[in-house]
């Protein structure tokens, strides 16, 4: 399963820039980890239901009413770039 693990490709999916040194090191380390987790292939799980949550609650709802929320200036407080009450981002649409 892991023979085709391509660090460069997956790091791009994860939106993480890696140096060539990091790529090489991570490739080796994750190769070992992947080999280890392939252990799960030993088990027959065809008839087993997956667990996403230990105690799944369904339809957790509350009354549809306005409640206090984060003040605008607090939401912007930690922004790396802001202006005019907004987060500033680089141009997305040409």
């Amino acid at each position: 399963m892991s023979a085709d693990f391509n660090v460069h490709y997956v790091a791009n999916l994860a939106r993480i820039a890696l140096t060539p040194e990091e790529e090489a090191k991570l490739g080796t380390q994750l190769g070992g980890v992947l080999q280890y987790i392939e252990k799960l292939g030993e088990l027959d799980v065809k008839a087993v239901e997956p667990t996403a949550h230990s105690f799944p609650l369904v339809n957790v709802l509350r009354a549809d009413e306005v409640r206090p929320s984060l003040p605008h200036e607090d939401a912007l407080r930690n922004a790396p770039s802001k202006g005019g009450g907004l987060f500033l981002v680089p141009k997305i649409v040409e």
């Binding site: 994860a14 993480i16 820039a17 799980v45 230990s54």
Partner: protein
């Protein structure tokens, strides 16, 4: 010396006006000044804010506030750097959050403050709670107060070390695969991971949302019961918090464990277990038996698959949760030619090696073509692990195991090999996958050097009362918790 006290002792003194909240807080700050240069449990702390909180509490006491209404009046409690405290830094020991200030209180912080606690300090941890030693902190490695050449465990290493070095009265941490119980064991204090959904996660920076729980580090079991009672309960702001009433946990500490059934999982007494750890756990089991508990062998046959399951489930959830650190709304930004480059540069510069490793692994197991083989399969094995516990708990009230295979290891000993580090969590991980509660408390020491050994007790979902009852009875009978680290003064 006030910093050495337990919560029960502090509240007794404060209620009798033998000590003020300010004096207790100052004693903790003095101890930090004295020893934290060596222990390195705190990333930062705001003395002025802590003393201001203490002064407000002393004023409230003068106006009639009491411990019946506010059970933590005058108790300084320190926070892992993963919990949001309004106006204080929140960094998850990561460079990517350098300079971040929390804009609201976590639910647990609100509850602690409402109960009269002084909430202070930012305790060191592995970056984003990923690790077992604090060596993955972007800042420095916390030291084990019993031997500073060794690690305190992780990820909540600062939370454990600060309690063992008496730099605070108690602390909070978080546990995704053992991050409360393992450092508590290695530092010789009590650490409790509540049942999933028992404590609100609102204001806890998410690592793996289906596994994370907040819990206390304390100097004895009674204090763990006190803190759990304060921080538990349903919260509208966490849709996974369970609407179950909160029991009076201290009321469960009767000292009587006659007839309770204690399970021993044969799969947990395996190779790799240090002989001194095994001897201490065996002795603890004999002790529990002599106090009237019935020992029953149980089987958790899928234990050997827990670590692999965990590193798929936890990394998959982490890869999604940590997508929010993209340099747009918060965190440091590193610009790029286009938005995708900005994200990649920001995350490449801001995350440390272990966080990158786990996000990339998590992205891979969720990626097209591999989802079924890895992620879905792991979720199915998670079902098998949970069923193991369900079956075992039909026969017993709690399961007793070592918390860790060895006592604290040396800094640097395992940091080069991530898989070896992951395998050191073998005894604690299943509990999170199943969603049960678990606790670690001291059960002895290695001889040379003298290092704490932890006994883990795993309980049924919402079985914290039984867990605390057994742990308390054991602790009172043995007195291991009274042994203090060399920094405790």
């Amino acid at each position: 010396m006030l910093n050495r006290l337990t919560i029960s002792e502090v509240t007794a003194k404060v209620s009798r006006r033998e000590a003020s909240a300010r004096e207790v807080t100052q004693a903790c700050l003095d101890q930090i000044q004295r020893v934290d240069g060596q222990v390195k449990a705190f990333l930062s702390y705001d003395s002025a804010d802590a003393l201001a909180q203490a002064a407000a509490i002393d004023a409230a006491i003068a106006n009639g506030a009491n411990h019946t209404d506010k059970p933590l009046l005058g108790v300084p409690i320190a926070m892992k750097d993963v919990l949001s405290v309004k106006g204080q830094p929140l960094g998850c020991a990561s460079k990517i959050l350098e300079g971040f200030t929390s804009v609201y209180d976590a639910t647990v912080v609100e509850k602690l403050k409402a109960a009269g606690a002084i909430v202070f300090g930012r305790l060191n941890m592995d970056e984003f709670a990923m690790g077992s030693s604090t060596e993955n902190s972007a800042y420095f490695t916390t030291r084990n107060p019993w031997d500073t050449s060794r690690i305190p465990g992780g990820s909540s290493g600062g939370s454990a070390a600060s309690v063992s070095a008496d730099e605070c009265i108690a602390s909070l941490g978080s546990d995704t695969g053992g991050s409360i119980r393992q450092p508590a064991a290695l530092c010789g204090c009590v650490g409790l991971k509540p049942t999933y959904g028992r404590v609100s996660r609102y204001g806890l920076v998410a690592f793996a949302s289906s596994l994370d729980q907040i819990g206390p580090f304390t100097k004895d079991v009674r204090d763990a019961a006190t803190l759990l009672e304060v921080i538990s309960g349903h919260d509208l702001r966490d849709s996974t918090s369970i609407p179950q009433p909160v029991p009076h946990y201290r009321g469960a500490l009767t000292g009587n464990i006659k007839g309770l059934k204690i399970g021993l999982a044969k799969e947990y007494m395996v190779g790799g277990l240090d002989p001194e750890v095994k001897a201490s756990v065996d002795a603890a089991v004999k002790q529990l038996e002599s106090m009237g508990a019935e020992i029953v062998e149980v089987s958790l046959p899928h234990t050997e698959y827990a670590v692999a399951t965990y590193y798929i489930v936890a990394t998959a959830e982490a890869s999604a949760n940590l997508a929010r650190f993209d340099g747009i709304r918060y965190s440091k930004r590193v610009d790029g030619g286009n938005p995708a480059e900005l994200y990649k540069n920001t995350r490449g510069a801001g995350f440390g090696p272990e966080v990158k490793r786990r996000i990339i692994l998590g992205t891979y197991v969720l990626s097209s073509g591999y989802y079924d083989a890895f992620y879905l399969r792991a979720q199915k094995v998670r079902t098998l692990i949970r069923q193991d516990f369900d079956k075992a708990f039909e026969k017993v009230d709690v399961i007793v195991t070592p918390t860790t295979p060895t006592a604290a290891f040396r800094a640097g000993e395992k940091s080069a090999d991530p898989l070896q580090m992951y395998l050191s969590d073998i005894f604690t991980i299943s509990c999170n996958l199943a969603g049960n509660c678990g606790l670690s408390l001291p059960c002895g020491f290695t001889k040379e050097p003298k290092l704490p050994i932890g006994l883990q007790m795993l309980g049924k979902p919402f079985g914290e009362e039984t867990l605390l009852r057994i742990a308390h009875a054991y602790e009172q009978a043995t007195g291991w918790h009274q042994e203090k680290s060399p920094f405790s003064k």
